[in-house]
């Protein structure tokens, strides 16, 4: 609870700074833009946070985002209808999670190593798939539209509902990605806080052994959580494709797994596992886009963003540890 209030305080402070940065910073269109970023980061944060709650880590999220965006585009260029391509990509994402989960639970490999390898492998797949072939060019929304006129209408619909862009002029009308985040957060919050699944996830995170001895099917739950995490990353890949003019396989989603982990930790997840709330995850994920926006308005180059992200994460971790030490009643 104190944790949620803490993040909330930070957010209020950051928005205060943002409003005073530039006259356009407080404009509706800018706020919607920021909210969309928050939605995108928030979705992968939810996935990363669930994995962290069961005591794992997923470093492949960013690659899954990039790869999903590429595959989504390529599928459509190859003639798959957008409405069919979306579920296919999400299914593919959850398959990646299933493989990660399988390697971690059945072969008892370390989550860090498995998903680190996954990060490279999936990035590699994205780059191979993205190579332009004679009959199609680079992966981009405009190329899909050019190749398949019939997809124009479905794509406009998707862009309206998932990104919030007007079918008429492409203007941002409302923060659809943020709304999607809220929707998913409510569903995940329900499972996490109201059902047996959530209890099992917390139990596994705190003590895998004790959970096992209490009859929890530890392996199955861990696999499920990795699948949810990767599926959400795939959703974000779809959003990314719909939002960007074109997708570069070598930088789309790079480093996003760290943004997701950052959001989860800021939101109150402990990397030791067993802690975290859905509300906290959403609030935690909202921090970074505001910082980025402030930096942009200050006219600083985007080069300083990693530095600021790192300092923020480190401060958060130190603060977290200090609070933890003060309130430690057991070991």
């Amino acid at each position: 609870m104190t944790r949620i209030l803490g993040v909330l305080g930070v957010l209020v402070l950051l928005y205060g700074v943002l409003f005073n940065t530039h006259e356009r910073a407080g404009s509706l269109s800018n706020l919607i833009d920021v909210a969309n970023y928050q939605g995108r980061y928030g979705l992968i944060t939810l996935g990363a946070a669930l994995v962290i709650i069961v005591g794992g880590i997923d470093l492949s999220i960013g690659s899954v985002v990039g790869c999903s965006a590429i595959v989504f585009g390529v599928l459509m260029m190859e003639g798959v209808h957008p409405f069919a391509a979306v579920p296919l990509v999400i299914l593919g994402g959850s398959l990646i999670g299933a493989v990660n989960g399988f390697l971690i639970t059945r072969l008892r490999l370390q989550p860090f190593l498995v998903t680190l390898c996954g990060m490279f492998i999936i990035r590699g797949i994205a780059r191979i798939v993205a190579q332009p072939s004679p009959h199609r060019g680079t992966v981009s929304l405009s190329n899909v539209r050019e190749a398949h006129a019939a997809f124009e209408q479905p794509l406009l619909t998707l862009r309206y509902y998932l990104i919030g862009k007007s079918p008429l002029d492409g203007e941002l009308l409302f923060p659809a990605q943020f709304f999607l985040l809220l929707l998913v957060a409510v569903v995940i919050g329900f499972f996490l806080h109201r059902t047996a699944y959530g209890r099992y996830w917390y139990a596994i995170g705190h003590s895998e052994l004790a959970a096992k001895y209490a009859g929890v099917n530890v392996n199955r739950h861990r696999v499920t959580v990795y699948m949810i995490g990767s599926a959400l990353a795939a959703v974000v890949g779809v959003l990314l494709f719909l939002n960007e003019p074109s997708i570069q396989s070598d930088n789309a989603g790079v480093g996003w797994e760290l943004y997701a982990i950052l959001g989860a930790v800021l939101g109150g997840c402990s990397l030791r596992g067993g802690e975290g709330t859905a509300v906290g995850m959403v609030l935690g994920a909202m921090v970074l886009p505001v910082i980025e926006n402030i930096v942009n308005f200050r006219g600083a180059k985007s080069d300083v963003i990693p530095f600021i992200v790192g300092v923020t994460l480190l401060s958060g971790t130190i603060l977290d540890e200090l609070i933890r030490r003060r309130s430690r009643v057991y070991r």
């Binding site: 329900f190 109201r194 059902t195 047996a196 209890r199 099992y200 917390y202 139990a203 705190h206 003590s207 052994l209 004790a210 959970a211 096992k212 001895y213 209490a214 009859g215 929890v216 099917n217 067993g274 009643v329 057991y330």
Partner: protein, 515 residues
């Protein structure tokens, strides 16, 4: 003054090690209550006693691993107070642990000289490998290991060889007292024989040996003298021909049972078999199959020394450890159990030996822990029903008289007895058919113990088949309707009715023969 001083020194000098009035209090347990003993140069003194009698604590104090609350230790007439094992080692008191203390990734020679490497001197301390090799060969020869072993990495040695390397390392220092804690627990018969020879050699060299063991046959073989500990006190001392299996067992047990073992609800004898194990073997266990049955309404007590395979058997039945052979039947129906989930669904539950590791999610609340295995029953389509959950918490906190401010209290903050009650509560809410209790009252205060015993009696009276694994002799004799004793992975015997005597249990548990 001068003469008095000489007199004192001369009486002292007969004892290599003398311990007087050692006292050590652990939370809830008085581990040592004024223990004293002496050890002559070149003597082998065995210290025996039941699990928890205080043997290990005594040894740890002498070796500087634990510090005593009261009492004193003299070494060759000098009062000593070791604060660390390193200090004890420098003085020549070396403890060889049950868990070995070698650096697995280094060679035997590296280990023999770890911390006291021979160098060419100077600032950079270049290792004098040749000198170390030569000395290593000599040390290994003294424990009967071939010189070729010196260059081998420790991880590739057998447990017995590792034990011998530890002894060789001790020999390399100016060892005066060698303490061996269960040295044969991981040795083969041949390695054990070699250990005996090494001990003979140590005696001849004037090294005193403190030998701790459960295995009475072994003690009979190596010890010049035996001290028996019971409940943290010295129960008696045996020397020479007095050292017999019977004498040791009599001293180890032999106390009157108190009146807190109720048998009010049980009708005795037990009903139909509920759980039957037929020729069961488990992964990593002995090859000899185990058969066992637990009947409705009885408390089956299972005795045996630590490492006899009791916990492993229970874990195999509970689905934690895979079965390699045999069948489990519940009410006459064969049952396949490969995970705790299945065992629990069938009505078999386990109160594990280590509640902090296996029994409870310590940082989580009392309520979280009580609910955890019952969530299937507490959930509806809309998730866990808060009212049903609160009801379950209230019921079991009241019924087991758990002393906690609320269900929201982290379970880690409760006392051992109350923590253990939570483990019982989470299972009893499921109304199990078979209740497996592994050390049901370990680390539990006397008050909570009495409550747990009353509960066990009540449950058996309701027809639950209770299988109680215990190393507490009093508890075993006080609560069990029938006793099965395990020894080295097999059932050594069963004791019913008047056969349920401590001597008989100890005989079977230590590999002796009663039949």
């Amino acid at each position: 003054m001068g003469t008095a001083r000489i007199l004192v020194t001369s009486t002292m000098s007969t004892a290599r090690l003398e311990v007087r009035g050692l006292r050590k209090q652990f939370p809830g347990v008085l581990a040592l209550d004024g223990v004293g003993l002496t050890l002559a140069p070149g003597e082998v003194l065995a210290v025996v006693g039941e699990n928890g009698a205080g043997k290990s604590t005594l040894m740890k104090i002498v070796a500087g691993i634990e510090s005593a609350d009261a009492g004193a230790v003299w070494l060759d007439g000098q009062p000593v107070h070791f604060r660390t094992p390193a200090e004890a080692m420098t003085a020549g008191v070396i403890l060889i642990h049950q868990e070995l203390n070698l650096a697995e990734n280094l060679t035997v020679t590296d280990n023999l000289f770890l911390g006291r490497e021979v160098t060419h001197g100077g600032m950079v301390r270049v290792l004098n490998r040749r000198a170390m090799r030569q000395q290593a060969a000599a040390l290994l020869a003294r424990v009967g290991l071939p010189a070729s072993r010196a260059a081998v990495r420790v991880e590739s040695l057998s447990p017995g060889e590792k034990q011998l390397v530890e002894i060789a390392r001790a020999l390399g220092t100016a060892v005066r007292v060698l303490i061996m804690d269960e040295p044969t627990s991981s040795l083969t018969q041949r390695e054990t024989e070699r250990l005996y020879e090494v001990i003979e050699g140590l005696k001849a060299a004037g090294v005193s040996v403190l030998y701790i063991s459960h295995r009475l046959a072994e003690v009979k073989r190596v010890a010049d003298r035996v001290c028996v500990l019971r409940d943290g006190r010295l129960a008696g001392e045996l020397r020479g021909p007095e050292i017999t299996h019977e004498n040791m067992v009599r001293l180890m047990v032999g106390r009157d049972l108190r009146q807190f073992y109720p048998k009010v609800h049980r009708r005795g004898g037990g009903g139909l078999p509920v759980l039957q194990l037929k020729n069961v073997c488990w992964a990593g266990g002995s090859s000899e199959p185990v058969s066992l049955e637990v009947r409705a309404g009885e408390i089956l007590g299972m005795a045996g020394l630590v490492g006899a395979g009791r916990t492993e058997l229970a874990e195999a039945v509970f689905g934690v450890r895979p079965l390699s052979a045999g069948t489990i039947e519940l009410n006459g129906q064969p049952l396949r159990i490969t995970s705790p989930t299945q065992a629990i669904a069938a009505g078999i539950v386990l109160v594990p030996e280590d509640r902090r590791l296996h029994g409870l999610i310590l940082p989580a609340s009392v309520g979280f822990n009580l609910s955890l295995p019952n969530l299937d029953r507490l959930s509806s389509r809309w998730g866990v029903r808060p009212r049903a959950e609160a009801e379950l918490h209230r019921t079991w906190i009241e019924r087991l008289r758990v002393r906690t401010p609320s269900a929201a209290q982290p379970v880690a903050l409760l006392s051992g007895g109350n923590q253990q009650k939570i483990v019982y509560g989470k299972w009893l809410a499921r109304q199990p058919q078979v209740l497996i209790l592994d050390e049901p009252t370990r680390g539990v205060d006397v008050g909570a113990k009495a409550e747990i015993y009353a509960l066990m009696d009540e449950l058996a009276g309701q027809g639950v088949a209770v299988w109680m694994i215990t190393s507490d002799m009093e508890e075993l004799l006080g609560m069990a309707d029938r006793i099965v004793v395990m020894h080295e992975g097999r059932i050594a015997g069963e004791l019913v009715g008047a056969q349920r005597r401590e001597e008989a249990v100890m005989q079977l548990a230590t590999g002796g023969n009663t039949r």
